[in-house]
């Protein structure tokens, strides 16, 4: 592959941004890129990024599928809060918070609740026919209320070794959180690319009415992606609450939906639905996580954090845009963009 072709790849600029952020961080703090072995675990900046990006990646994976069907799910943050609240309040109330069985039971309950939220969202979108952004806005607001209801508005703190493992543990020298995310990523990739689910999701996203006429169960598929999205958000909620060993209903996953959508789009999936790229989402998640981390490492002044974030995002988006991509090709040509049809 020649250099030009690489530069034209959809993920080229996000990857460049990723590398630049890493290099800048490493220049500021030379130890940053070192990976060392300590107590049999890997330590260091890159490992840290992997561990930290797990939450965003999980949420963004679900979001990718939802977006591929032309939807959007604003309730992911609330689902994370609910997951943490249900799991931790159950663990806190149990006589033996440290027992594996307690933790598993609590997680199962939380997952059930999260799935119920997903079913609810999917029902509103696929059956009642409410526009996704509003349908999920309902749970974005109410869900956090429910989470706070469960914890009584307090931050529920627990001490439970098995639960702590989720975010802080290591297995085979790698962070458990990253392994969970990698596992879910793998499962999603298998599910969408080894079965026909992926192509059916895309077809529903590109042209819902044609898909229906082609015999695709559009409604079921749309419903399913919201459930999957809620399930992934729930797992992300476990990691987030395990990270601080507390259920912070008000703040867990606050505004993560925006980061997730950003990750999905930087990864090359269009918000208009259709073709999606899980690898792209992975790269997008890494970019955003690294961006957040580098803010601290580079010592960006507090008042300029938002500006810094905006400039990086704008730079990546501009460079990635079809127009700039065209400009950079040696052979320039103007083709009217093929707009995605939106039936009214």
């Amino acid at each position: 592959m020649n250099l030009g072709a690489i530069a034209r790849h959809r993920l080229f600029w996000p990857l460049v941004a990723l590398v630049l952020l890493l290099v800048a961080s490493a220049l500021k703090s030379p130890a940053f890129l070192e990976v060392t072995v300590r107590d049999g675990h890997l330590f260091g900046g890159p490992v840290d990024i992997l561990r930290r990006s797990s939450v965003l990646l999980l949420v963004a994976l679900g979001m990718t599928l939802v977006i591929a069907t032309r939807g959007i799910d604003l309730s992911v943050g609330a689902v994370m809060a609910i997951a943490g609240a249900v799991a931790l309040s159950q663990i806190a109330a149990s006589p033996d918070p440290g027992a594996l069985s307690t933790v598993l039971l609590a997680m199962a309950t939380a997952l059930a609740v999260a799935l119920a939220v997903g079913v609810f969202n999917g029902f509103l979108v696929a059956v009642v026919g409410i526009q996704p952004i509003v349908a999920t806005l309902i749970f974005m607001t109410a869900g956090r209320g429910i989470a706070m209801l469960i914890t009584g508005g307090q931050i529920t703190t627990v001490t439970s070794a098995p639960y702590k493992t989720i975010a802080s543990g290591y297995w085979l020298g790698l962070p458990v959180a990253a392994l969970i995310a990698a596992f879910v990523f793998g499962v999603t990739a298998l599910l969408t690319r080894r079965t026909a689910l992926g192509v059916l999701i895309e077809s529903v996203g590109i042209n819902p009415s044609a898909s229906r006429l082609a015999g695709v169960r559009a409604r079921t598929i749309i419903w399913t992606v919201y459930v999957i999205c809620a399930a992934f958000a729930c797992i992300a909620g476990f990691i987030k609450s395990s990270d601080i060993m507390a259920a912070d209903s008000n703040n867990a996953g606050l505004f993560i939906e925006l980061d997730a959508i950003l990750a999905v789009v930087i990864g090359g999936t269009s918000l208009a639905g259709g073709k999606f790229s899980l690898t792209g989402t992975l790269v997008g998640s890494l970019v955003i996580t690294t961006l957040t981390l580098s803010i601290t490492i580079l010592g960006i002044p507090v008042n300029a954090v938002s500006l810094f974030k905006a400039l990086v995002v704008i730079a990546v988006c501009l460079l990635q845009s079809p127009v700039v991509q065209h400009r950079m090709r040696s052979r320039r040509r103007r083709v009217a963009p093929v707009p995605v049809e939106v039936p009214a």
Partner: protein, 531 residues
């Protein structure tokens, strides 16, 4: 006459100096495109093509599906940028940045796929950008009045205030044509305007076109109906595979030669086309595959009875908006019936979704391939196996090998071009998209095939191919419902013809050698009293 299938015959384009119409010689072409080349990633859609349009002339642009006709039009109107070549309008070289600029230069275009906004009213679609205004503000009453007049010119008596989406595709096509006439254009481009119109509408359109020609407008006309081309055009340019074959005066080019130039093959295909596909009499007495008993849907179609037997082709005849599409959609479960009963192989069945119909081996190929057929961003392969896949469910993916086999078979059989399973379906030419859609349904090996305008926008060769295919499938025992605006085609293929009018089935004819289009037209006109 023998020419190799690949090489372009060295025809001499006629000399522009030669007088064809009395006053053409002293006129400069209003549009002259020379050496136009347009490439898409991986495809050279046009390669050094010339086109000249003269005022007061109808110029036909001919070629097979995918020959590059639409691309040439889009290159002219600035939708696509050209890689090479020049466009001269009124003696000055121009490059349009988009349709808006082309329009400003007096070039008005009706593109192949209906490109209107179906959320707006008919009046607005006709008048957008040219609304009647008073004190800077849009005067809706005046706009509607103006729109109604333009619609009348095409004999289209619809309420200008109704939303566009409430009308059938054919009406939408007429509205699109209307829109192109609103501007006082000096060049009018019509890319397959007649593909879903019936005889009357076409006549009406031609009357308008002749009138415009008389007023000195240059008209570019694309159609796969040879009769129409011969009826209206003065001159034609033939394209093949993105290259120019030549420019001819219509009068000088017999049909046989034209087809030969278009497809670069001998006369075989044309002969096939002329020859009626064999209709094998249905084995009556067998149970009908599908039986509709008083099936209907309020506001869309009155209750009707219809039997379709295996091995039988049932044609649906009727004028625009007579409810043929609605009937087919009820049989497919695309719309839910609210009265009556549907029996599949004698079993009362309720089809709530297309998927349920699919499970009973009933399939429907929609007339509007753009909104209800092709999944634009998916590949040809994915589009073709979509029906099969939907039937199998999401879990059991069709193995790559099987998919490739199926796709290869139909790409070959239907002559889908480019023959690349990984091409994005939305980028195919209109006719080829139609073939892909057909392939999708044939691949599911249905028992009942509902075809709504399957030959819309398909070139002569492919059309013959499809007709033969339908006859063949029926012979093998498939039940087919065939809808087409082209009455001859319906007559040629069907064993039985159900006649529709005003959303009602008014009668049925058993087809035979003695049945002619006039019989059908009479039946429609009489409203079924004598049926």
């Amino acid at each position: 006459m023998t020419t190799s299938p690949t090489a372009i015959p060295p025809d001499q384009p006629d000399q522009p100096g030669e007088p064809d119409r009395p006053d053409a010689r002293d006129r400069e072409p209003v549009v002259a495109m020379t050496g136009i080349t347009v490439t898409f990633p991986g495809v050279k859609a046009l390669d050094g093509v010339d086109l000249r349009l003269f005022p007061g002339e109808v110029h036909a642009l001919m070629g097979e599906n995918g020959a590059g006709k639409s691309t040439l039009i889009k290159a002219l109107t600035g939708v696509y940028a050209v890689d090479a070549g020049t466009i001269v309008v009124d003696g000055t070289a121009r490059t349009f940045a988009g349709p808006a600029q082309a329009q400003a230069a007096g070039i008005s275009t009706v593109y192949q796929e209906v490109n209107l906004c179906d959320n707006l009213s008919v009046a607005e679609n006709v008048m957008l950008g040219h609304e009647v205004r008073r004190a800077g503000l849009v005067d809706f009453r005046g706009t509607r009045r103006a729109a109604r007049e333009h619609l009348r010119a095409l004999n289209l008596d619809i309420d200008p205030a109704s939303t566009l989406s409430s009308h059938s595709l054919a009406v939408q096509q007429l509205v699109a044509i209307c829109r192109a006439m609103v501007v006082d254009a000096r060049v009018l481009i019509l890319d397959e305007p007649t593909s879903s119109l019936d005889v009357d509408e076409v006549e009406r359109l031609f009357a308008v076109v002749r009138d415009l020609r008389g007023r000195g407008v240059a008209i570019l006309f694309v159609s796969h109906f040879l009769e129409q081309v011969y009826a209206i055009s003065d001159r034609m340019t033939v394209l093949r595979n993105g290259t120019l074959v030549g420019e001819y005066r219509t009068a000088d080019l017999p049909r046989v030669e034209l087809v030969q130039k278009m497809i670069g093959r001998s006369l075989e295909v044309l002969e096939q086309l002329e020859e009626a596909p064999k209709r094998v009499a249905a084995e009556r007495g067998v149970q009908p595959y599908v039986q509709a008993l008083g099936l209907g849907r309020k506001g869309s179609i009155e209750p009707f009875d219809l039997d379709v037997y295996p091995g039988e082709v049932v044609g649906l005849a009727g004028l625009l908006g007579s409810g043929r599409t609605e009937l087919a959609r009820l049989l497919y479960g695309a719309d839910r019936s609210d009265v009556g009963e549907l029996r599949v192989e004698g079993q009362p069945t309720r089809l709530r979704t297309p998927r349920a119909a699919l499970a009973r081996r009933i399939v429907y190929s929609s007339e509007s391939r753009k909104t209800e057929g092709i999944i634009g961003d998916l590949t040809v392969r994915e589009n073709i196996v979509l029906g099969l896949q939907a039937e199998r469910g999401w879990l059991r993916r069709i193995p790559q090998r099987k998919a490739d086999e199926v796709v290869a078979q139909y790409v070959e059989q239907l002559g889908i071009r480019p023959a690349d399973p990984d091409a994005i379906a939305g980028n195919l030419s209109g006719g080829n998209q139609q073939k892909v859609l057909l392939a999708r349904w044939l691949a599911t090996q249905p028992r009942l095939l509902l075809l709504d305008e399957p030959t819309r926008g398909i070139d002569v060769g492919a059309k013959a191919e499809i007709q033969r295919l339908v006859a063949e499938l029926a012979e093998q025992g498939m039940a087919v419902v065939f809808i087409s605006a082209e009455l001859e085609e319906v007559l040629r293929l069907s064993h039985r013809i159900a006649v529709m009018r005003d959303r009602r089935k008014i009668g049925e004819l058993v087809n035979g050698d003695d049945v002619t289009t006039d019989d059908v037209v009479d039946l429609i006109a009489s409203g079924g009293q004598d049926a």
